[in-house]
Subunit: 165 residues, 4 copies
């Protein structure tokens, strides 16, 4: 349980699989991972001191424009899960986050994913630029993560998930 | 599929169990029935010509204050389900709806429930009186349902679900 | 975050509201509380050393037969929540659990509820008696909770939620 | 409401947005689209006469290995939605389905997506070949869809969603 920010910019949120998150195949339903990724994103922004909720209070929603997830191993009820989340690309009009869901008991990579977001003014529904302090904070986080790459090795993951066009 | 209003005031919404609605016990998760009841309530207000959405546009939410559900038989993926919904009690400051979830294939009663709602002004968060045209429409519906009782017999259900205090 | 067992038999699970748990009224959707209660029940059985999962491995499901919830205050995205869960009545063929959901920031009672469960053999679908070691463990927990009543005072809650028949 | 199979192999399932599917941004939560896509997939297999449930009864799960979704426009409570689903690629060890979610009122494309699935023996957890009658049925469906391309024009959608590796 809990959440922590690693030196390489990954936020790690830890929680257990809820029974309601399983399906008749006896495993966690695939749509649940999107909810976990979102929770990981919330943990990241809380840990960076810029709660997602604060952005909401400014009338800006980070509207999801794209999600991709790959499922490697099933998770089951009561499993202790870690969701790793990192800002992967930060531009004033698009942010991409990367995620990994890992089972604590055996270190298995369960799923990985990316989400892309567009800052949108809630009142108008129009895309807007990300307010500078969010842009700065998240960009420096990405830069730091790249510098530290290699110092915090992760399991080999094959081809990274990227935009297809 | 679809929805229809019966002469005795029950709205009947028909749909199939979604896979995501099941859990690791191989049956529909109990929290799903609350979502079905809510969908039944939406169908009822659409059929009465007073969409729930219209109440929302007036800045009023029908805030759920109490829910009770009894589970009789499990439902499974792909089952065709009917949710019966009726306004059961209508007062200016409280409404109660009653629900029955039935499996079409064998007519089994799967679950029954009630919800109680308090009209609340969204802006202030304060309880308000239900706008008269909603009160009138829903009240006459309840009255008609009582007059017609017996003409539209339902399976015997034991003690009705009522408020406990 | 995390979970702990109090001396009076209440298990307390702490977690944050997920964005996906909110609805268009800007508050936590009422069906979410059933998922939280279930998570509280899981925490309780883990803390008592008899994981719910263990009962599952014996081929027994604690099938929910009844749920009742009363909603007092809305919860919002990012709120830190505590769910208090206690075995309230334990019989070989029926268990009742009681729940309270509290917002940590202001101590507000958000919702309270009860669930009733019937032990069912998964293979046959038939009700069975609860295995003795579960019955004993949970019963002594209820007895202890009653002895300690008053030592662990809780906010005044009005009429308790009880079965209606 | 309801579902129908078009001549070009798209299954069209029609239903309304449920209130529980919205979030605090006032729109349908993005994870909901995965549930809709899955429901579209269920509709497709029912319409082809090979219910997904039948595959389950043979002890085979079509395990989701990858999902990608792009979100174009928000959907709101009570919107009438069509989900278009088509088998896009069928091989004995991998199937890909394509989806489009459209709002009926204005014909707006809300989201599009693909899912990839691996047939897995439930008992062993091992990948298996898709039973021939499923492979044949779904393959001929894909072939027919390609022949008919152009006869059933769809709104221009830009670059198709494809596997990235």
């Amino acid at each position: 349980m809990g959440e922590e920010l690693r030196g390489d910019g990954w936020a790690v949120a830890t929680f257990r699989v809820r029974y309601a998150e399983t399906d008749a195949a006896g495993i966690v339903h695939h749509a649940t991972y999107l909810v976990w990724f979102e929770e990981g994103r919330s943990a990241l922004s809380r840990l960076l001191g810029l709660p997602y909720a604060e952005l909401e209070r400014e009338g800006i929603d980070l509207v999801l424009s794209r999600v991709e997830a790959r499922y490697r191993r099933p998770a089951r009820y009561d499993d202790l899960i870690q969701v790793w989340t990192r800002a992967d690309e930060v531009r004033s009009r698009m942010m991409r986050f990367a995620y990994r869901a890992v089972r604590v008991a055996d270190g298995e990579l369960l799923a990985e994913g990316v989400t892309e977001h567009i800052p949108v003014q809630r009142a108008s529904g129009r895309p807007v630029r990300l307010p500078p302090r969010f842009l700065t904070a998240w960009s420096s986080d990405v830069a730091k993560a790249r510098r530290l790459k290699g110092e915090f090795p992760l399991p080999e993951l094959g081809a990274p998930l990227r935009a297809t066009d």
